[in-house]
Amino acid sequence: MARILIPTPLRQFAEKQDTVEAAGATVGEVLIALTVRYPDLKKQIYNDEGKLRSFVNVYLNDDDIRYLNKDATPVSASDTLSIVPSIAGGARGI
């Protein structure tokens, strides 16, 4: 079972837990197990097409899974997954 760190604002969709354990051999399988258990959480991180929302990044320990093997990245019981948003902005464009 891998650990998944739940960001503060999303804990309300995961029985107020800050960390959840879920089974799976790959990042994709772990995320499916997580979102099957917490369907309201799924709406926060996936869009209507079933893809991760544009601002959502997933880290396996310290590494962005986009630079590993994405959803197919292997996961072991000692691994930690984190859900991290992309954020930018600026004054231009009122």
């Binding site: 991290v84 930018a88 600026g90």
Partner: protein
């Protein structure tokens, strides 16, 4: 946050707000200054590295607190939530914008974007005067 915004003037600064949440009330206890990673001119643009945000989340957990939001500055313009802010936001966090006029803090607002990144609600924001 004010010091950070004034020191980085005329560029935009950015950072993470760590604190507590009690119902609808969020209290910032610690501001963690983060690098503005935007490539090119930073006078009207900021970008956070996700790995820095991951570090901020870990620091919040170590402090037994929560990562409650993001702050950034608008040099020589108001503390509105711009189209650029909205399109590059995330609906999970509060976004505090600090207006810096001629290198001095002028005013600030807090914003809560929706999931579709089409609208941001203004939140009540208060801070100590000193």
């Amino acid at each position: 946050m004010v010091n950070h915004a004034q020191v980085t003037y005329p560029n935009e600064c950015c950072g993470a707000m760590i604190g507590t949440i009690d119902g609808d009330q969020k209290t910032v206890v610690h501001a963690l200054a983060l690098d503005n990673a935007a490539e090119g001119p930073q006078a009207a643009f900021y970008q956070l590295r996700p790995e820095d945000l991951l570090r901020a989340d870990r620091e919040a957990r170590e402090r037994k607190m929560d990562l409650i939001g993001i702050y950034h500055s608008h040099p020589d313009c108001g503390a509105y939530f711009s189209e650029t802010d909205l399109k590059n936001s995330c609906p999970w966090y509060s976004f505090v914008v600090l207006s810096i006029q001629n290198a001095r803090f002028d005013h600030a607002n807090s914003w809560l974007p929706n999931a579709e990144q089409t609208h941001a609600e203004k939140e009540e924001l208060t801070w100590p005067e000193s």
